[in-house]
């Protein structure tokens, strides 16, 4: 058979299987991310079916997936929103970074890994999954809740922080050392600030360049621009993902709205390929030894996330139940942690990192949304009520309750 034919068969079967998995996940209320990762683990190196012909194709698809994930994230926020949010919630962001990045780094040192791996693991445990969390909040009908803006602003700050963190990690992993990394960080800071200023001042003019009326031209224009900028950014060692993120931020108004609609299906396709690719590059044989450490790390960093949410909500005067809701909602890690781990895998910094990150994300992304439901149960509410007012007797007059 011709190479292309085998590629079509492999990719087709893979995507079809992912579609079925995604459907299954939706039925049992699970995010498709862990299922895609598991699918990736099942295939490829050391897996059941080696995907030899399509590996290169999947690899390219995966890097497009990362770029699309990031540009969509940028499109979701306007530059004004980012800056305004940064002013209001910066302390919460600092708490978040300290409480969640430090345990990751400490854990890496505990495992006897070098400082580059520690930097990567810090990022993996730091960033919550905005995609999963936004979906959980919507599903639980909590978008109107008073603690929701707190959760969202923590996520926004994390995403913005990635614009600085990713270039630093990319440069460090490229082997330029800490000085080179700081140089990349400085370039990133200047670039991000420039893009934010330009987007706030001239966002309309930029968006006017790409007409929102012609759907096809819009798709090609935005997609092309994103890939181009991402490529240039990668060439400058500032990370392709950050370039894409900045393109998303710079585009605003109706163009952003239409671009979101046009790019969503593409993002779904290539992001799925990305998660599978990450699973593919992890050998399932490496998984069992890291399961226990991953579980420990997950428990610790999920608790620190609860504390983060608790303190962030407390800052703006949310009551105890709301603080717990904010904390529990922030637990899942997802796409970003995988993006960061993907960078590390590509540079081969620490062989144990990829399986650990896979197991870690699998644990948090599956258990997080389930634990986020806790505060909605009646027994939990009663427990909190008793805990808050231990002095008042729980005896109440028999009220007609329906």
């Amino acid at each position: 058979m011709h190479g292309t034919t085998i590629l079509l068969i492999e990719v087709g079967a893979l995507l079809f299987a992912l579609g079925m998995l995604g459907r299954l996940g939706r039925r049992i209320g699970l995010s498709p991310i862990p299922l895609y990762l598991l699918a990736g683990l099942a295939f490829g190196h050391g897996g059941l079916i080696p995907l030899s012909a399509s590996e290169e194709f999947i690899e390219i698809g995966a890097s497009i997936g990362v770029i699309l994930l990031l540009v969509m994230l940028g499109l979701e926020y306007s530059a004004g929103e980012l800056v305004g949010n940064l002013r209001a919630a910066a302390p919460a962001g600092v708490i978040d970074a300290l409480f969640n990045a430090v345990p990751g780094a400490a854990f890496a040192f505990l495992m006897g890994w070098d400082w580059r791996a520690a930097l990567v693991l810090a990022g993996i445990t730091w960033v919550s999954s905005s995609g999963v969390i936004a979906k959980v909040l919507g599903d639980l009908g909590r978008l109107g809740n008073r603690e929701t803006p707190v959760i969202l602003s923590v996520l926004v700050i994390e995403d913005l922080a990635m614009a600085f963190y990713l270039p630093l990690v990319t440069a460090v992993l490229a082997g330029v050392g800490l000085i080179g990394g700081l140089k990349a960080l400085a370039i990133a800071v200047v670039t991000v600030l420039a893009v934010l200023v330009v987007a706030i001042r001239y966002g309309r003019q930029i968006s006017a360049l790409i007409s929102a009326r012609d759907a096809e031209a819009l798709l090609l224009g935005v997609f092309g621009l994103t890939l181009f900028v991402a490529g240039v950014a990668e060439e400058l060692n500032v990370s392709a993902a950050v370039g894409a993120f900045l393109v998303g931020i710079a585009i605003s108004g109706p163009v952003a709205h239409h671009a979101t609609e046009m790019l969503s299906p593409l993002r779904d396709l290539f992001a799925a390929v990305f998660f599978v690719f990450f699973g593919l590059s992890t050998n399932p044989v490496d998984m069992p030894p890291v399961l226990l450490p991953a579980l420990g790390l997950a428990v610790i960093t999920m608790l620190t996330k609860v504390l983060t949410g608790y303190l962030a909500a407390q800052r703006v005067g949310i009551a105890l139940p709301g603080r717990l809701r904010a904390g529990l909602a922030l637990m899942p890690r997802g796409e970003f942690s995988i993006v960061i781990a993907g960078l590390a895998v590509a540079s081969g910094v620490e062989p144990g990192l990829a399986p650990l990150a896979t197991a870690y994300v699998l644990i948090t992304v599956v258990s997080g949304p389930m634990l986020a439901r806790l505060p909605d149960y009646e027994w939990f509410k009663t427990f909190i009520r008793r805990w808050r007012q231990p002095s008042t007797p729980p005896v109440r007059p028999l009220a007609a309750e329906d």
Binding site: E81, L143, T148
Partner: protein, 165 residues
């Protein structure tokens, strides 16, 4: 009297408006970027969480706004009563046996005869603002008229058919 509507941006989702009513309840509207909107009602025990989040379609939101807007307009008209000395606003129900059921507003010649204006008609919880002379009355209509005490009594009498036409 002034109500404080608080606006909270929800990055990546949209914006939330909420207000605390004088009875102590909080209601809000979450407006999504994609045009979807949810009406949210907050819990009394835990004012940070919403008890219900009700998605509204465009038509439903419009209908709800109309109903609320109608009662709002009447409230404002009632407020007007106290503001302008001597000028009164009154709701006059069209009596069942009124000779004007099925006839045009112009036929009453209310303004010419009483110097009072019919500024609105309420029908089925809806407000028809500033009806023209060709507006046709229906049974159970409630007329909102503005005028002096004497003039309003005149309108009441005309609508009841108690004057010689």
């Amino acid at each position: 009297m002034r109500v404080r509507v608080e606006q909270t941006p929800l990055p990546g989702i949209g914006v939330r408006h909420d207000l605390v009513t004088s009875s102590g309840r909080t209601v809000g509207v979450v407006s999504h970027r994609n045009g979807r909107r949810d009406l949210v009602l907050y819990d009394v025990d835990d004012p940070d969480s919403c008890l219900a989040s009700i998605p509204l379609t465009d038509d439903e939101a419009e209908a709800l706004a109309d109903v609320l807007g109608a009662s709002l307009m009447l409230g404002q008209l009632a407020g007007l009563r106290q503001q302008v000395g001597g000028l009164l606003t009154e709701q006059i129900a069209l009596p069942a046996g009124s000779p004007f059921v099925g006839r045009q507003l112009g036929d009453t010649r209310a303004r010419t005869r009483t110097s009072s204006s019919i500024v609105a008609v309420m029908r089925d919880r809806e407000v028809i603002a500033s009806p023209g002379p060709d507006f046709v009355f229906e049974a159970n209509d409630v007329v909102v008229a503005v005028g002096t005490r004497q003039g309003l009594d005149g309108v009441t009498a005309i609508l009841a058919g108690e004057t010689d036409d």
